[in-house]
């Protein structure tokens, strides 16, 4: 095969936890590009490398155990191999866990692509006493084998040499690696005969299509239905064959086929692998697990670790967040000082600079959170966390892993939504995303502090705030169940999950992971957040009344002292906000919110402004109530609020803030993570309706009980 301009595309396949990422990093260094596969939210990582005369593009396929149509990751991986025809597929194999790893290899081989097996973690396999007869095994499997140690970069050059050699060799490809037994082979041949002259399916090896049809693969059936001339005959033939085989074997052919693959592999291993000593590392991993997943200690240790993750993310993240806020505050003032008064100044200072600040302010949280998550994932603890929490989460219809994003939601919804990436199942992921805004985030706390401080004594204020957190959790559980049953129904994801041996993560791996998340956030979500911040700024700025400004300018000039100036400036700001679009929207909202006891336009306006970010509710209330003294904690504001609100109304207000629309940045992140506007819009819609209904029940209930 002549390779055009010496360019080669290499697809990197492998099981999760096989060290695929370390091999990818070792192959490509920092020259990576992260994107998405079209149409799905599966990450696509690409890296580049020169080797001799070759320019290599390495595509990191999602980590999978198999190539079925049941998981998006597996679909993406196999479609990449079929559609983009990489020159070589390299499968990273955990050499210390050979049988399950080679199961994927047998399937890749059936796709008729050149395959090179990288026996990764060969050092670990060595220490566990495995002795491989590479030559023999390679002959049995029909693919070259290169031992590697990803995190040390051992064997990478040999691997590249093997890749180049395979790409340029004319060696026929082993397609019939696994022999499935007389009866199944007969059916494969019969179906293969039907498939022979199907032009529409010529991308796929007929044998592979036949096997997939016998396995009942939905995606392939669909492909046949759409592109085959004799689709009816093929599908009917497949159905009949499945029926015949099932009669013969009782089990569905898919199971028998899997058994045959494992049978072949275990035969090959028997011939070419010897085990000489005891399994040292697994024993250590086992010992760690006797503590970390212990029946008594497992849960407390998990909770402590989660507390640490939370603290790391939000406590350690607080100072840099403060610096970023201070920097942008300073920059905004600097611009305000340099530029002449007017729309341009306002747009720059209050719109764009504040918007960019609003994007960057979450960056420390996101970087730290993903550092922690990467550590949990790479060390192998994440699977244990899911193992420990699954009982509870399964009751809500979610997966054990959903617990972590929801917990992070108490800090901030944005990283929480991003953390749902570790959920493999799309339904679990979307339900988790949808309920995560109900976890009361840090930005809502200032609102609670202001209102409960103003309306409830110090003795009960804490309990009032606590009740809001509990309400959020209860609603999340209810909505989660509801969504799982009606919105995204389907069987719950099987919890057939590997618990990989514990490993010490590499610093490089952690940093790359953290950096990629941060970059993704800035690039993808940042732009939307910025644009929406500018829109929010415009809504609360326009239209402007020139005559009002003129009027106040002269009064301010005539003011007697500083206090009066401040008072007048505050009054101007309040009037301007009242006349702006935001003020008008607030007045409109007030009508809708009347039944829930919040029929005051100032509250409507504050709630609308809170769409920008929940803590803005406080500063807007400051502008609207306290006339110039916009400090949230100020006594004047508390006093002023008491004129419009009762304790019951204040509580309803807080409940509304808890539940209603996720902030602009969350909406942007939901859009990015789900790859469509459908889910963020749904989230806005359902939270608003839910907020209204819950507030109504509490308010009217309170009125009935005479609490008003």
């Amino acid at each position: 095969m002549v390779v055009s301009q010496n360019r080669l595309t290499i697809a990197l396949a492998g099981n999760p936890n096989s060290g695929k990422t370390t091999v990818f990093n070792a192959l490509t260094g920092a020259r990576q590009h992260v994107g998405n596969y079209p149409g799905v939210t599966v990450e696509r990582k690409e890296g580049y490398r020169r080797f001799g005369d070759y320019q290599l593009t390495v595509v990191d396929l999602p980590g999978t155990y198999s190539l079925t149509a049941h998981s998006v990751d597996e679909l993406v991986a196999r479609n990449f191999i079929v559609d983009e025809r990489p020159d070589v597929v390299v499968q990273v194999v955990d050499a210390s866990n050979l049988e399950r790893n080679l199961y994927l290899g047998t399937q890749i081989m059936e796709l008729k692509v050149p395959l090179v097996l990288a026996f990764n973690m060969s050092d670990v396999a060595d220490s566990r006493g495995y002795r491989f007869d590479y030559e023999r095994l390679s002959a049995l499997l029909g693919a070259p084998i290169v031992p590697t140690v990803g995190h040390k970069g051992v064997g990478i050059d040999d691997l590249l040499r093997a890749v180049v050699e395979v790409a340029s060799s004319e060696r026929p490809l082993h397609e019939e690696l696994v022999h499935y037994g007389r009866d199944i082979e007969a059916e494969i041949n019969r179906l293969g005969g039907f498939l022979e002259d199907e032009q529409g399916l010529d991308k796929y090896p007929p044998r592979w299509v036949a096997i997939k049809l016998l396995e009942g693969d939905e995606e392939i059936r669909e492909k046949v239905r759409r592109s085959a001339v004799k689709a009816d005959r093929i599908l009917a033939g497949a159905q009949a064959a499945i029926g015949r085989l099932q009669k013969l074997y009782v089990d569905p052919p898919a199971v028998v086929i899997a058994e045959a693959r494992y049978g072949f592999i275990s035969g090959a291993c028997e011939e070419a692998v010897r085990i000489s000593t005891v399994e040292a590392r697994h024993d250590m991993s086992d010992r760690i697990d006797t503590v970390l997943t212990n029946r008594a200690l497992g849960l407390p240790i998990f909770l402590v670790l989660m507390w640490l993750v939370f603290q790391l993310t939000f406590t350690l993240g607080a100072p840099p967040m403060g610096w970023i806020e201070a920097f942008f505050g300073w920059l905004s003032e600097l611009v305000a000082g340099v530029l002449p008064e007017g729309y341009v100044r306002s747009l720059l200072a209050d719109g764009i600079i504040a918007g960019v600040g609003g994007v960057l302010v979450f960056l420390p949280n996101i970087l730290l959170l993903f550092l922690a998550i990467a550590f949990l994932e790479d060390s192998g603890y994440m699977a244990r966390a899911a193992f420990i929490m699954d009982r509870i989460m399964h009751k809500i219809g979610l997966h054990g892993k959903s617990f972590i994003p929801l917990l992070i939601g108490f800090g901030c919804t944005i990283p929480a939504v991003m953390a749902t990436r570790m959920l493999e199942n799309r339904r679990d992921r979307i339900v988790t995303i949808l309920v995560s805004p109900l976890m009361s985030c840090g930005a809502r706390l200032p609102v609670y502090v202001l209102l409960s401080g103003a309306f409830f004594g110090p003795a009960v204020a804490g309990n009032v705030i606590f009740s809001l957190y509990i309400l959020g959790i209860v609603l999340a559980v209810l909505m989660g169940k509801l969504f799982r049953r009606y919105l995204l129904p389907g069987p719950s994801t099987p919890f057939v999950m590997e618990l990989p041996p514990y490993r010490l993560p590499t610093a490089r791996g952690l940093l790359i992971h953290m950096w990629q998340r941060g970059w993704f956030y800035l690039k993808k979500a940042g732009t939307i957040i910025l644009a929406m911040s500018v829109v929010m700024w415009a809504l609360s700025t326009f239209p402007r009344r020139k005559e009002l400004e003129g009027q106040y300018a002269s009064r301010i000039e005539a003011a007697a002292d500083e206090e009066e100036v401040a008072h007048l400036e505050g009054e101007l700001a309040q009037k301007q906000l009242e006349l702006s679009f935001a003020g008008r929207i607030g007045k409109g909202l007030a009508h809708v919110l009347k039944p829930v006891g919040l029929g005051e336009w100032k509250i409507g306006t504050a709630l609308f402004a809170g769409f920008g970010a929940k803590e803005i509710v406080v500063s807007t209330l400051g502008t609207l109530y306290s006339l110039g003294e916009s400090e949230g904690e100020s006594e004047a504001l508390r006093g002023a609020l008491k004129e419009d609100l009762s304790p019951l109304k204040a509580y309803v207000f807080m409940v509304f803030v808890l539940i209603y629309v996720p902030c602009v940045a969350s909406v942007a992140v939901i859009k990015r993570e789900t790859n469509s506007w459908r889910w963020p819009l749904f989230a806005i819609g359902y939270t608003t309706v839910l907020a209204w209904v819950v507030s109504l029940v509490i308010y009217q209930g309170g009125v009935l009980l005479g609490l008003a």
Binding site: Y65, S66, D251, I388, P491, P494, V496
Partner: protein, 253 residues
């Protein structure tokens, strides 16, 4: 079989056996009722049997079997049962007709043929395939269904029915994986799952027939469980483990 014993004497022995087992004792009156003969005939027969030392008989007392008599009576009764079952189960006759024919034929057939027939019945019942009775297939043939029809179908049915029995035959105790305690090892016999996706996932992860799994531990909240197979660790919910039938592999050491 006691030589020279007439057909009716065998009937007496059988009746005495049934009565002593059922009612504790055999009286002349009850024997006469049972065999529908007159009391003097019973007395005559009993004397004849007593001469051969098959029964202990004193006038007006209860009749008991001697050791030898019991042995003979047992044999007669077993043969009778076997014949009865042959007519009823293999040939598909009605219960009453089977009983009547058994009574008649047990005395006319010679010993060898009877023995053979009895063995055949026994064989047809122990054969796991029930190949001889074809699960009523012969009965259907007698009712006019042509031979051979549906045989293949029934064979499949039988094979399916037989699979789970295979292990039962080897006296293996079957359990589901969720009932295996931590530290115990078990071999997978069958896997069934709620959905195709779960079943596929389990096969992909190596949860296949014949694989030996070791239960490592149960999660702190009681579900899921952790098992070790093919050299790696896997977690499963109990509801998934319930679909996996296993046999225990010896106690942990």
């Amino acid at each position: 079989m006691a030589k020279g014993l007439s057909a009716s004497l065998e009937d007496y022995l059988e009746a005495i056996l049934t009565l002593t087992e059922g009612e504790g004792a055999a009286h002349v009156k009850r024997i006469a009722e049972r065999l529908e003969v007159t009391m003097p005939s019973v007395t005559g027969a009993l004397q004849s049997l007593a001469e051969r030392r098959l029964v202990n008989y004193r006038p007006y007392g209860a009749v008991t079997l001697t050791g030898r008599g019991r042995k003979v009576a047992k044999r007669v009764s077993v043969r009778h049962d076997l014949l009865n079952r042959f007519f009823e189960e293999v040939l598909g006759l009605g219960a009453e007709s089977a009983e009547e024919n058994a009574c008649r034929i047990e005395h006319v057939m010679d010993d060898d043929a009877l023995e053979r027939l009895a063995s055949y019945v026994e064989f047809s019942e122990t054969c796991p395939l029930k190949i001889c009775t074809w699960h009523g297939g012969f009965g259907r043939f007698c009712e006019g269904e042509p031979g051979g029809k549906g045989c293949e179908e029934r064979l499949q049915e039988l094979v399916a029915r037989l699979r789970p029995q295979e292990t039962g035959e080897r006296k293996v105790k079957e359990l589901t994986l969720d009932r295996i305690k931590p530290g115990q090892k078990a071999r997978i016999l069958r896997v069934s799952a709620a959905s195709g996706a779960t079943s596929q996932r389990m096969s992909d992860m190596g949860v296949t027939r014949g694989t030996v799994v070791e239960v490592k531990r149960v999660a702190p909240l009681g579900d899921p469980i952790e098992v070790k197979l093919k050299g790696y660790h896997l977690s499963l919910r109990k509801e998934e483990a319930r679909g996996i039938t296993v046999e225990l592999q010896g106690e942990p050491d």
